[in-house]
Amino acid sequence: MKGYDAVIVGAGVTGCAVARELSRREGRFLVLEKEPDVCEGTSKANSAIIHAGFDAEPGTWKARMNVRGNAMMDKLSEELDIPFQRIGALVVCLCEEDLPKLRALYEKGKTNGVPGLRLLTGQEARELEPNLQKEVCGALLAETSGIVCPNERTKGLGEKAAQNGVEFRFDTEVLSLERSEESWILHTDTGDVKARAVVNAAGVYADRLHNLVSEEKLAITARRGEYMLLDKSAGGHVRHTVFQLPGQYGKGVLVSPTVHGNLLLGPTARDLEEKESTATTADGLREVAEKSAFGVEGLPLRQVITSFSGLRAHEAGDDFVLGETADGFFDAAGIESPGLTSAPAIGEYLAEKIAEKLALPEKKDFTPTRRGVPHIASLPLAERVEKIRENPAYGAIVCRCEEISEGEILDAIHSTLGARTLDGVKRRTRAGMGRCQSGFCSPRVMELLSRELPEELLEIRKNGKASGIVLEKLR
């Protein structure tokens, strides 16, 4: 049985952030993930927002980690080559009676230590954002709010952890764990592993893992949020992330540009009985369409290129559950919004605790920076010419909608924690994310995966183990 100093369960953004912070220390670390790639659960399907931190209740983990996580972003996005833009957010108020709530939000933000907050009149808000509805009578501007690529964020953290020596084991599910002398034994469907410390970053399943070791039970509900993504031609409809004043189900429906220039609408909020249902529903999508129009006028809903839903890991106590729950068992549970923003802060906090407990010395040769797969099409012309000259495969376009070349796809396959699935390639390069939604490029990408991995075309899958794409060879 292989032994580790720490084993992290879950390769979402939280697990990868803990892994990256732990990799600053000497020790043997392993990340276990039931899916074939990093960023397969909650981390991949969310609003892609780096929240300012005015929303969380003062004194909560959410407030503390959000504000810290936001402040860490400039350095982190630089170090890890993560697309990130501080475009600012506007919380818009649609009726005069609610203006005190807007002010209360502003005060809460101040208490949480959020910089760059300003209250605006409806007129001032519309000057910043001309497509706001006429009814908007006031707004809270949060200058530090930003947008990020969640995939690249998670991938960057995970990849850097791996480059600094953390092992990753995919397609591996933790079935149970038990205490044995000074260690934990984790039973997985690919064998047992032993760890001095365990980090529970299992997303919507974090309650199950926690409840195996603690008498203080957690109850995590998968709270589904549905989204619609609009074509890039609609991406300029707003310049800020536009929220409505929060209601009892989270932050309402937002309208936001994405770092890739699309427009994102959503999410809804519905609590589910089961933990896996990322289905979209007719009602949910209708709700997104209706609610997104409350604050913003003239949304070009005909330009929807895809819809999706994500699951938030909502814990009954309404806060993150962080810290050492049992001897050597560290929780990062109930990580719902603002979890994407908070992840680096959570990673920093937990890694510190673990390092202290296990007395792990700092690693001398830790390297902080990494470069993502280059996006050749967004380079200035002269640089693009140069890149293609260095590697002619950057000139062979495979995904016509997003203009992704064979070279970029090969980079994605051969990078650290490289892509092994169609979704893996898509999330690293954006091949297949455009307006045709992979109709043209998927056969080509399958062929490249098959050639490079190498694997039979029949073995090439979209994501999970049972998601093979073609079923039979005909000739």
Partner: protein, 422 residues
């Protein structure tokens, strides 16, 4: 680089346009094609039925394409293959256009052209554009992607299949999948009529006992990793699913044939005016877009039913682009809009200059519903020029009429083309 005419796309439209431009006396014509071979989507259409109008023969897609490829080769028309056009703008000199391409072999190249012919074809509407609720497993393919997997790659993407939408590719794939051993359970079509050709309904569905369920759509997709089933339901006149009519069907694959969208990203970048109805450029009698020197033909202009008409239209575009480049003086003249009415959804061209048109001009259009015994009427400034009775008109089939120059003397305001129901 510098060329007289650059043709974007080496499918049936681009090939016919190139040949016609060359035959009209422009020697310097070049085709940019993103795939490694010419022929476009025809290369994966291995069924027959192509060329009945053009060659009076039933050819397969690749055979049809080959005739044009050989002709282009015989004329010595160069084609840059595996070359993607990534930019199209007006040349900074103010004269002509600048086309930016990338390829493995030549890298990034900028080419100046006197005229450009847009022949980029179309793409399929994906699932996302329909907002079909449900999970997002593998096994949902657009019909054209499935066609490529079967016909070009030699792999079967599914064994138990439901097809949503009755566009021609969907119908063709119903037959193709059946012949390869799959079971096609039904074709669901949300409209009260098929989006495809009548002959395809007969030859691809009826001959194989595949039910076509009109007024039906998919309301749920099941399966965490691979499709395990879909739910279809009847829709009302407003195309909204009727509760209580749901039917669960077990399948591992859902094919989508729910419409084609002209690929006009380059045209948009250039500032070409597009029609909201066709999603293609608005063109005049010369098939010239709102940007002088830029012509359009084939499925990038409007989605065709038969490739024969693509070739015919593209040849016109090639000829006109050649005339433009040779600077053949066109009399300045008034431009009269063609206004669709009744069940006529659009016309190509959308405007005509009687001074510039030839003795007669083919006007193509589609209707928005099934019509029996209705007439197509052409009126100029309220004066009836033509009334042609058609036994059947259907949304899946393109219609055309011929407009004669001599009719338009004195016409000032508008030419109306509409259907008159019996």
């Amino acid at each position: 680089m510098k060329h007289t005419i650059v043709i974007i796309g080496g499918g049936p439209a681009g090939l016919a346009a190139a040949i016609a431009a060359r035959e009209s006396g422009v020697s310097d014509v070049i085709i940019f094609e993103r795939e490694p071979e010419l022929g476009g989507i025809l290369n994966q259409c291995i069924h027959n039925g192509f060329g009945l109008h053009t060659f009076r023969e039933e050819l397969t897609g690749p055979e049809y394409a080959q005739r044009y490829v050989e002709k282009a080769e015989a004329l010595g028309i160069p084609a840059k293959l595996s070359t993607t056009v990534i930019g199209l703008e007006r040349a900074s000199s103010g004269e002509g256009l600048l086309v930016t391409t990338v390829s493995r072999q030549d890298g990034l190249v900028q080419t100046e052209a006197k005229a450009v012919i847009l022949a980029m074809g179309c793409r399929e509407r994906p699932r996302g554009a329909l907002n079909i609720p449900g999970l997002r497993p593998t096994g949902v393919f657009s019909a054209g992607t499935a066609q490529r997997l079967v016909n070009r790659e030699g792999y079967l993407p599914g064994r138990e299949v439901v097809i949503l939408g009755s566009g021609d590719i969907g119908l063709i794939m119903a037959r193709r999948m059946t012949l390869e051993g799959a079971k096609v359970k039904c074709v669901a079509e949300i409209q009260p009529y098929s989006g495809g050709l009548k002959r395809n309904i007969v030859q691809c569905l009826n001959d194989y006992d595949i039910p076509l369920k009109l007024n039906h759509t998919v309301v749920d997709i099941r399966g965490k990793e691979r499709v395990t089933g879909v739910t279809i339901a009847r829709v009302d006149e407003r195309l909204t699913p009727i509760p209580g009519t749901e039917e669960e069907i077990f399948c591992d694959t859902l094919l989508l044939s729910v419409g084609l969208i002209p690929e006009n990203e380059l045209s948009r970048e250039l500032g070409v005016e597009l029609s909201p109805v066709t999603s293609g450029p608005r063109v005049n009698e010369s098939l010239e877009t709102s940007v002088p020197g830029v012509f359009a033909c084939g499925n990038v202009l409007h989605v065709h039913d038969l490739v024969d008409y693509v070739s015919e239209e593209a040849a016109e575009a090639g000829k006109n682009a050649a005339a433009y480049c040779k600077g053949e003086p066109a009399e300045a003249g008034r431009e009269i809009p063609l206004c669709p009415g009744g069940a006529v959804r659009y016309t190509v061209p959308a405007a005509v200059s009687p001074e510039k048109m030839g003795a007669q001009l083919t006007v193509r259009f589609r209707v928005g519903k099934n019509l029996r015994g209705a007439s197509v009427v052409v009126e100029a400034d309220g004066r009836e020029l033509l009334c042609r009775k058609r036994p059947v008109m259907a949304p899946g089939e393109m219609e055309q009429i011929s407009l004669k120059k001599e009719w338009l003397t004195g016409t000032e305001q508008e030419i109306k083309i509409f259907t008159r129901e019996a």
